[in-house]
Amino acid sequence: MQIKDLFSKKKKYASIPSEVMKQDLPDGVMTKCPKCKKISITKELIKNVKVCSNCGFHHQMTAFERIEFLLDEASFEEFDKDMISSNPLHFPDYIEKLESDRKKTDLNEAVVTGKGTIDGIPVVIAVMDSRFRMGSMGSVVGEKITRAIERATSEFLPFIIFTASGGARMQEGILSLMQMAKTSAALNRHSELGCLAISILTNPTTGGVSASFASLGDFNFAEPGALIGFAGRRIIEQTIREELPEDFQTAEFLLNHGQLDAVLPRTEMRSKLYTILHLHQGGVLQ
């Protein structure tokens, strides 16, 4: 080291702010779009339902942000709020990970379920939140969704689900897999009675969640650009030993391959859902 370095003010290394410091900062006043890099005022972004005004990128939304934007004011009544995961396989570190996600997200699990109205039409709704254990489905996610569907069935209400999940939760092993069967069975009953189910796949919806309730709506929609698929991109590339197209497993790719009814921009979500709900309220030829 040279003497002059001692007087230089420039640091020779980058410092990463600690978790504590990050949390001390006020919520970002500005947000940068990961796609077009445009920096916008966070308040404005939220007003535009977290859709970038420049390129249309759909930023991640929390479960309660969605509920707030979709349902009529103060109409939401939450179900099973206090249901939490236990550790059936005694998986190492699982309880700690759950605890830390609870603190981080203010949620008890990766899905929020309840009842509310959309322009006066009552619905049962389930909204997944990918910030909690990547939205993965263990016993609690499966059970909450199943109970919500059962409630919709018994009250003859439409069931709407917003999915966001990396798939089945590994730490609960086979019990996670069985939630796929459980939720699908509940949807079958709901359907048998002639009730309406709508699934909106948001970024990301993969694995065991895409291979169960997410694909079982009478109407299956997705948000623009959402990643949707059964197997992970890397696994597929390793298996078939070829590069996949850029848009592989995006909402638009699925639409092109006949796997979705429509790709719905978030800004139109509420009005489009209302149209569908309304058309299922019955009517007479005049």
């Binding site: 016993s139 590994m170 086979i174 069967a181 069975a185 065991g208 291979a211 079982l216 059964f230 391959h257």
Partner: protein
């Protein structure tokens, strides 16, 4: 021969050598042989009676492990294979058709691995595409129409993770099977005979009874996949397998499996005739126990069985 069987194999070789020596020379080793054979018996009981999780994984993946077709040929008569999903193609990774089981017409469906490389390529190593699940569903709906019980054999590493599979809706195909199987108005029995790999296995696995061969596995993800995701190290597969509870005894304890079918010593590959008989006994009883249920009872029983799976708690 698998790693854990080595001591047995070594002892067997020694006994054989002694026998040959006795025959060729004028020395009597019969007392020695008798002693060693007794020891072999104890050793076999010890090793096969205390198989670890990883030992069972190896047996479940044994290249000579009997496949769906091996059991169909031994358990049923008049098997008539039906092909195609009527939508896209015929997936050889899943076979299905109608047959007679002790005089009762049934529909049989199962994952099908190959016996050699050539057949494995044709059958995609038993890893189905969407058309496989859709063929299975078509056959299940046909079974429902004619009021035939359904028996499925589960034996797959998983649904195929490929480009074409995604394009044609692998997720939807599996999801649709779960949805429709839940509502089938005929008795349905599912038997895991080898590897039960995640959603690809479950796609044939929503029944009134789930049976599992002693050395088969059933898991949400392969041990290698779990290790890669959890510890970023696929070589920790053994540790992942031991943590995840994927063997028949573990799943029986968790209440996921209704009954465990015992295997012949060392695994089904050692005696497929006897193994088929073991399956027959359990399958017969399982089928008999649900044949008298009416349509509503069957659907209700299946619903309740799956609804109770999982473990939850509440904030106090």
């Amino acid at each position: 021969m698998l790693e854990f069987e080595k001591p047995i194999h070594e002892l067997k070789t020694k006994i054989d050598e002694l026998k040959v020596y006795t025959n060729q020379h004028d020395v009597d080793f019969s007392e020695e042989i008798r002693r060693l054979e007794e020891r072999l018996k104890t050793l076999e009981n010890e090793i096969y009676g205390n198989m670890g999780v990883w030992d069972r994984v190896q047996v479940a993946r044994h290249p000579e492990r009997p496949t769906t077709m091996d059991y169909i040929n031994r358990l049923f008569t008049d098997f008539f294979e039906c092909h195609g999903d009527r939508l896209f193609g015929d997936d050889a990774a899943i076979i299905g058709g109608i047959a007679s089981y002790h005089g009762l017409p049934v529909t049989v469906i199962g994952h099908q691995r190959g016996k050699d490389t050539k057949e494995n390529i044709r059958r995609n190593f038993g890893m189905p595409h969407p058309e496989g699940y859709r063929k299975a569903l078509r056959l299940m709906k046909q079974a429902e129409k004619f009021n035939r019980p359904i028996i499925t054999f589960i034996d797959t590493k998983g649904a195929y993770p490929g480009k074409a599979a995604e394009e044609r809706g692998q997720s939807e195909a599996i999801a649709r099977n779960l949805f429709e199987m839940a509502g089938l108005k005929v008795p349905t029995i599912c038997i895991v005979i080898g590897e039960g790999g995640s959603g690809g296995a479950l796609g044939l696995g929503v029944g009134n009874k789930l049976l599992m061969l002693e050395n088969s596995t059933y898991s949400v993800i392969s041990p290698e996949g779990a290790a890669a995701l959890l510890w970023k190290d696929a070589s920790q597969a053994r540790r992942a397998a031991e943590t995840m509870k994927i063997t028949a005894p573990d799943l029986l304890e968790l209440g996921v499996v209704d009954q465990m079918i015992p295997e012949v010593k060392g695994g089904a590959q050692n005696d497929v005739e006897q193994q088929a008989k073991n399956i027959d006994k359990y399958l017969y009883d399982a089928l008999k126990s649900i044949l008298s249920m009416d349509k509503e009872e069957l659907v209700q029983q299946r619903y309740d069985k799956h609804a109770k799976l999982g473990q939850i708690s509440f904030y106090k």
